[in-house]
Symmetry: C2
């Protein structure tokens, strides 16, 4: 019997990236860090240049039926800036490449750009170039963000040490619930276009899904109080997947405590309506754009009074595995989600 | 009567970019050059960082029916490196974002990466990061290339002076004819899958379409002989469109001589078969990835013996317009093509 050939589904998102990039040998001494963190780190002889890029596809990452173009533009920029902040870098420029089908109007594209420009304005970033093209199918948005870093201040995924505390900003799972809400109303609308969408009372969840904000404030706080996390990542795939990145790159394990994972009351309320466990939304929902980082006990004292930061666990030896401890003391191994064939988290 | 609202078609590609970016004010002193040239120019305190980005969409920029994945990956990198060379910069890194539908196999994606890596190898560039995603529809490839530049060596589109000579490398129109050939064979195949494609005798045209090479050799020559073009661009949209970019940014006119525009005999032969005027293919075909530049008479003497470089005209006052002079002395105003609604040149 011959062995079945590996498929993309077998590998999954992160496996595929590893598979495609495992034989890459960096040739230029200026390429300090390539594939494998939130962003690449390049040395051009002055401040370090930190670069990250995302591609967003219609029908996979966004649905134009309920995503206002201006919000979409804003969010597309934010998701990239979030990656730069997760390296402790200061965003400086973005490059925007768009491909759009002829079904989009000029006004829609103008609104998309308005959102892009608003994000540039809010985070002091220049829109410095790009490309526009037509598309046979849906809208594609590819943004590259560049920022400035200093060697001794950059924070990678790989620096977590045993007994470091695991911290997270804001709250988790809200963006995912916001998406569920929009999907439900879309379905109702498709079945009966006369009905008005019921979105009231969930402003926070909708804002988290449609217009997330990157944690520039936390990075500024770190600078002000001279806080040095040992490892950091932004939560784009979900807490579970992202803490596993830190543990894998740091060659460590972790213990997270379910009761300490921050979840907003609005998230809990809507989760109940949908019969979703709020904790599952927090672990696997993604798109929170919060920062997840580890701190040595010595550094931790500098942030312990910051209300925006919650301690949710600590780093262990690799052999202990990566576990979630529930309120009754049960250990549940954490699992990465990444994308599935449909690009959405289950 | 109310005025009809402007549409994307009214604006065209370059009009749309101008429309969307006209109100951009650069905020960071490190952003030396934003939208409007082959690449952005950024100052991070050391060597200048030159950045360019392209997005390639299935069905618009390539057809997987006749484009081998490895060639596609190679060409996607080349088109970006070509933009960096056109600034007289040295490419250092690329960032690759891909979105692919589930109809692609792992092997196809591996082959795409093989082409990307081969281009990296050939031009001493590091694949330093990126993103992969699924796509509901076709394949999308977005590549950002970064390179190193020096302030006094960078060449913009805007420096052409009156009486400068207009020069071009290699020959033009071959990539366009290569595309026509592939399209014809595709059509024949669609009508009768039993027939073998007739591609023999046109190796050069196919190579120009499927595996173009950027002019790293010319940039090396410029360095060796200390040649300083006054303006430069790479020919991606077609000679006509690209010389107009130089003239517009330099606020000048030009006179190009039809008889001096370099066209390969293979291009002429196939053009005759297709009943296409070879000159039209050279002017509007695009995808040649040759360099188009202007030289003061003093600089020109340094390149006049280089067989890879042809002089095709000279720069005039703006008021004289941008014209092609045919062999019988007729003046024909040059016109930009850019993309149309279907993304292909007519």
């Amino acid at each position: 019997m011959t062995e079945r050939k590996k498929t993309i589904e077998d590998l999954g998102e992160f496996g595929l990236i590893r598979h495609l990039t495992k034989d890459i040998r960096l040739k230029n001494p200026g390429t300090l860090k390539g594939v494998g963190d939130d962003a690449a780190v390049l040395d051009y002889g002055g401040k370090l240049v930190i670069v990250t890029s995302d591609i967003l596809m219609e029908g996979i990452h966004f649905n134009l039926m309920y995503t206002p173009m201006k919000h979409l533009g804003y969010k597309a920029v934010v998701s990239n800036l979030s990656d730069l902040y997760a390296m402790n870098a200061v965003p400086k420029q973005i490059i925007v490449s768009l491909a759009f089908s002829s079904k989009l109007t000029l006004q829609q594209i103008e609104n998309l750009y308005k959102g892009i420009k608003l994000a540039c304005e809010n985070f002091n970033v220049d829109l410095a170039g790009g490309d526009t093209s037509t598309s046979m199918t849906g809208l594609a948005i590819s943004i590259t963000a560049l920022g400035e870093g200093e060697k001794e201040r950059l924070i990678y995924r790989s620096g977590a040490k045993k007994n470091d505390l695991v911290c997270v900003t804001g709250d988790l799972g809200a963006a995912y619930l916001g998406l569920q809400l929009l999907e439900r109303e879309k379905k109702i609308f498709m079945e009966n276009p006369e009905l008005q969408p019921e979105l009231e009372g969930y402003d926070y969840l909708l804002q988290r899904q449609l217009k997330p904000e990157p944690r520039a404030d936390i990075i500024a706080y770190f600078r002000e109080y001279n806080v040095s996390p040992s490892a950091m990542i932004d939560i784009s795939d979900g807490l579970s997947s992202d803490i596993l990145h830190i543990c894998k790159e740091s060659n460590k394990g972790c213990k997270l405590f379910a009761e300490h994972i921050p979840i907003d009351p609005e998230t809990e309320k809507l989760a109940a309506e949908f019969n979703i466990t709020p904790l599952v939304a927090a672990l696997n929902g993604g798109e929170d754009y919060e920062l997840l980082f580890t701190l040595s006990p010595g550094e931790f004292v500098k942030v312990k009074d910051n209300k925006k930061i919650r301690t949710i666990g600590h780093i262990t030896e690799k052999e202990d595995g990566c576990n979630l401890v529930t309120h009754d003391g049960t250990f549940i191994p954490l699992k990465a989600q990444g994308w599935n064939a449909y690009g959405r988290k289950e």
